[in-house]
Amino acid sequence: INGPGGDMQWCFSQVKGAIDDDVAEADIISTVEFNHTGELLATGDKGGRVVIFQQEIENKSQPQFRSEYNVYSTFQSHEPEFDYLKSLEIEEKINKIRWLPQKNAAQFLLSTNDKTIKLWKISERDKRPEGYNLKEEDGRYKDPNTITSLRVPVLIPMDLMVEASPRRVFANAHTYHINSISVNSDNETYLSADDLRINLWHLEITDRSFNIVDIKPANMEELTEVITAAEFHPHQCNTFVYSSSKGTIRLCDMRASALCDKHSKLFEEPEDPSNRSFFSEIISSISDVKFSHNGRYMMTRDYLSVKIWDLNMENRPVETYQVHEYLRSKLCSLYENDCIFDKFECCWNGNDSVVMTGSYNNFFRMFDRGHRRDVTLEASRENSKPMQVLKPRKVCAGGKRKKDEISVDSLDFNKKILHTAWHPQDNIIAVATTNNLYIFQDKVN
């Protein structure tokens, strides 16, 4: 992280998306995800489109320049739909994208909107057949009487074409809005979670799924919490966690019973009574939960903080990092302008030593767990000269504002970074502002 003797210096690499300040709603980025090798980077947007970027081969003549990400494939994943029974429109916004580990030449990803999950196959075509015996060039069949010889078509090179095709559609299994999908380590099943239920699917089977968690009360008037995120353990295919709007995380073991309503572990930190306010419940709602790569920890994000939990300790997190504590005194205004409902995501770096999450004013934060350092950086067009080193930012909570600091009241709450992703191996990060995707990389490597 930046700082005296700091290990990492983040530099601007690329920015994707329109420069226009007038943001089209369909262009708002709603999810960002690297694949398992980091070679591919997928984004989903509010318009239901998926854009995949591919890392190009390294530029050998200028080794300090990391390879660039260029558009590899763009496709319309989901369209708006209408539920006639309930008179409700179903948004096409892509809530989550999750990559499957690569098994063959093609790439597969799951993308989901509020109601339907789709499995997409992305494959390359760089050859085409030529010289058909029975067909003309345009595909029409020749008159058999004109055929006098036999020839076999040959495959000739062509310009690379990347095709995306929907291979499975997993529909009609969720009454409420889907907030998470997670591929199991067995590479055969995955889970999808909505506000009240979690379903287990087999990737090959679309006409049925198993309900594994159901927290819907018999009487909806007694509803006190909803599911906000869910994820499978990275190695233990029987284990998954789900977070709630009350700030709790439940770890479930699918071997224990078919319906995992009873948790194996319940992670909850007692509330600090001195922080109680009208909005305590809202800010304790967990917006994201992510296992560490090594599977020993999990991270949760609530409105003001990031918490790291040791899976062996349920009564409190092992680390807590304040993302923007200066907002605690502004909760009423943030409630009025709806910002308090923003759902920030969080992510781990490849070796689980650093965690990252977004904030307002296009700021994002990194917390170095080992060195107990943190830094605030900004994704902005002003700092987007090639390989420009990002300067750490500082927010002045009160009192005298130093030079280069920005005061809380000057923060732009319309510029929020909700989605960030970290390359699984290298120090390359993707940070989504409202409609732009920034790619930063560490200078040193």
């Binding site: 309930k86 179903i90 008037e221 709007s245 009208f278 419940e281 709602s285």
Partner: protein, 184 residues
Amino acid sequence: MSATTAMEVNAEARRILAVSISKLYASRTQRGGLRLHRSLLLSMVMRSARDIYHSSRESEAPSGPQPAPAEEPMEVGSGPGEQAELPAPQPELEPAVSPAETAEPGSAEEGCDGEFAEDKENRSPARQSRKRRGKASAAPDFLPSKRARLEPGEERYAAPLGSCRVGAGESLTALSLNRVIPAF
């Protein structure tokens, strides 16, 4: 707590309640349908605000017979004594406390502030004009009133038995904020 602090808390609670109601109302027209998570959080805030408002009112010195009608939407949530006087059935409060109910087509399609204003005026035995008085109101003006305007001399009858609304006899305190998301 001191009278001033109680008043401040009271005002804050009322303001939050007003904001919450308008958010609930706005969420009915949101694309993609009512969001359960958001509705739940809104109802929790409203419940806290209502509880704080009640407790801060109780700690205040007893006020005059009529609370200031200016803060109409919030007044409906006030002490039991006043609520029992409300002759009309409870649907006025429903838009405020039932985020999912309002999502159902055919449910009470009423604006909040218009209702409360009218009920305040209903409480006096002599039926006065149903027109909203031009008082400074904390309720957002943009919330339309969708209930039929009664002509002078007309009466509004209690909802018939078996209606999906809360029965006329039920007091507002019984209409707890737990009836938040009944039939989503």
